[in-house]
């Protein structure tokens, strides 16, 4: 699988996780989208840093080739998955660990 395939698959899986598996349903909540709106530009800055200095180098055969702030757009899907998976897990644990 290419990076593009994996990036799209991961978003689908994490969306399923949030909406139907642990049912934290952060995708329907303002708290998530506001947090994401804060993190998104930060990701663009760090992506730009890592790619413009050639710290991370992507294989052109494994991406579709469209870039934003220097990094493949696949990175935005990767970031979205990581952020949603983490915050969803955090809220899920917050519910589960109530009797610590």
């Amino acid at each position: 699988m290419s990076y593009s395939d994996l990036a799209v698959t991961s978003v689908l899986l994490v969306v399923l996780f949030d909406l139907f598996i642990v049912r934290t349903q952060l995708l329907t909540k303002a708290i998530f989208w506001t947090s994401y709106a804060i993190i998104f530009p930060m990701q663009l800055i760090t992506n730009w840093w890592l790619t413009s200095r050639l710290i991370v180098i992507y294989n052109p055969d494994m991406i579709i080739g469209r870039r934003l702030a220097g990094a493949p757009i696949e990175d935005l899907l990767f970031g979205f998955s990581l952020i949603l998976a983490t915050t969803s897990m955090w809220v899920f644990n917050g519910r589960r660990l109530k009797h610590k």
Binding site: L6, T34, I45, T46, W49, V56, I57, A85, K98
Partner: protein, 104 residues
């Protein structure tokens, strides 16, 4: 880049008293399972040459699965920053529903 993220988010711990680092168990149970999956992804991506790192700009410490130390730290620091951002927003927007026990 990791330092930038730490400075960009960890002040919330002090300024807004989000208390993320204080909730060690909950944080560990959040980071660990997510990191496992993303580290597997990273290992696959490195092995399949989806991406590589410039050896001259790395610390040079490479851990299991041929993954550099910086990548392992990435999967700890970025999730902490994400949770701190979420809790930072909650601290400012107290009436917004989240869906866990910190409400009410």
């Amino acid at each position: 880049m990791l330092t930038f993220t730490v400075f960009g988010s960890f002040w919330l711990e002090v300024a807004l008293k989000v208390g993320v680092l204080r909730r060690v168990k909950r944080l560990a149970l959040t980071i660990f399972p997510v990191a496992l999956i993303f580290i597997a992804w990273d290992a696959y991506a490195i092995a399949s040459k989806h991406w590589r790192f410039d050896a001259h700009q790395m610390l040079g410490i490479v851990g299991p699965l041929n993954i550099p130390l910086e990548e392992y730290l990435f999967f700890i620091i970025i999730p902490i920053a994400s949770v701190m951002t979420l809790e930072g927003v909650r601290a400012v927007k107290k009436h917004w529903p989240v869906g866990d026990i910190d409400e009410l």
